[in-house]
Symmetry: C2
Subunit: 274 residues, 2 copies
């Protein structure tokens, strides 16, 4: 029986092959088709090395949206990286087992990814061992990425200075204290930084990333297999569309988090530790 | 510092209080406001008992979308239920630790939930111990629910006979062999059965469920906190919108899964085990 990965392999191969003939509007010479098949095999198989950080009280959905799409890429190696190999508890209480440690994580990454959270994220951003890891791997990674408040961990490691960045709408005000330029978009790409907005933006973020790592057809295959054709029952997913009272209430309640994140950014800058 | 849950508590309280004054267009008498506050406290706190099945090779995103929204409901108890307490490996290799066993899971549930997968889901649907558990808890649960091919496990336990049901678009053809009426919608509600389509439909499914268990304001609060304002970079999330070649390819490749699911439904019916 075919597995999820096998579907996507077949998809990427056939689609791209078919696309080649279609674009040309004529038969493709055998020799060229073979060469193209080689190219396509490369596109299809990939060999990305992806490290996804997990830490005490991270938000599980920030991780599992992107993980689903990235891990579906044939040939990609995805590591769940934490300080130790002990199961890590998410902010909503789920225990997830890391696959490697900060120390053992491959040195050269295609993607460095950090999910968000609230108090746990600030703790991770303050943690020197985590900050050193992120700064080191981020200095060489092909793509340095985050979803939600994971951006604060990147910022604390000094990786967002002068970059356009997005984060959870309730944390946007903290980005400047890490030297970043806040941009109110679902997914923001600036050179090799790709950041997603809050929690569920991880789905849009990851499909964008798959299309960059492979191609649009591959990303569409992943999207169709996960039936990502969203139909939210309410239009309350952004501060612009939600009832005004709801937005203001959450903004008021979340103030302390944003302020703590701002203070962290300033402290790190002052101490030259960012 | 306020936690995610605290925000939502505050949201539900204030919003509903404000709404009461707003609808009346006049000040609410103190006595009535107090009574209403008591009602609201009930709505806000809740006491749902939710069991989410996990099994070898389940699809993690099928679980973690709904888990995020349901676990955000103040006062709800969410159990991750498996045959043993050993970590369970998802179809993409993530180890998740259950919180209770089939034997120890509470007998009376507000929600019974089953995530999908491919080979692992068929194995779970064939497993007598799992089938007995689902049939038993499902016979008393207030809501019997699934996302993606989790519907096949419900069907194998005899819980979908005569119900309108949805599942992953690639498995729709198997529903009839479990006595269900396939309905091509993102979320299908028929009496106390609520089923979601493939993988990411779990987000729309769970917001719908939150609005039923609490109220629309609460669901909107959860939606805004998770910034669920989807912007897929491609329009390929359903067989109707995806490139035709892609849809046909996946349908062809996935044929064996659908056929195996159909055969299982027929076998169980023949043996009177459903």
């Amino acid at each position: 029986m075919a597995t999820r990965r096998n579907f996507l392999v077949a998809t990427a191969t056939s689609l791209t092959g078919a696309a080649l003939s279609q674009v040309r509007g004529q038969e493709v010479p055998k020799e060229e088709e073979d060469r193209s098949a080689d190219d396509l095999h490369r596109v299809m198989m990939g060999n990305e090395t992806i490290a996804m950080l997990i830490y005490d009280r991270f938000t599980a959905l920030d991780l599992f949206g992107p993980h689903h799409f990235l891990r579906s890429m044939m040939g990609a190696k995805v590591h769940l990286v934490a300080k130790t190999l002990e199961p890590v508890k998410s902010d909503l209480g789920v225990l997830v087992t890391p696959t490697t440690t900060l120390a053992d994580c491959p040195k050269d990454l295609t993607i460095l990814f950090v999910p968000g959270g609230t108090e746990g994220t600030l703790a991770a951003a303050k943690d020197e061992e985590i900050r050193r890891f992120i700064a080191d791997r981020g200095s060489r990674a092909k793509w340095v990425t985050s979803v939600c408040t994971g951006a604060i961990v990147l910022g604390a490691a000094g990786l967002l200075m002068g970059y356009n960045v997005t984060t959870h709408w309730l944390a946007m005000g903290a980005l400047q204290s890490f030297g970043a330029n806040p941009v109110k978009e679902r997914v923001v790409i600036d050179r090799n930084r790709i950041t997603g907005a809050g929690v569920t933006a991880g789905l849009d973020f990851a499909l964008t990333l798959v299309s960059k790592l492979r191609n649009d057809a591959y990303a569409q295959g992943v999207q169709l297999m996960s039936e990502y054709d969203p139909r939210p029952p309410f239009h309350a997913g952004s501060p612009d569309s939600a009832p005004k009272g709801l937005t203001e209430m959450l903004r008021h309640m979340q103030g302390p988090f944003e302020n703590a994140a701002k203070a962290l950014g300033k402290d790190l800058a002052k101490d030259g530790m960012r």
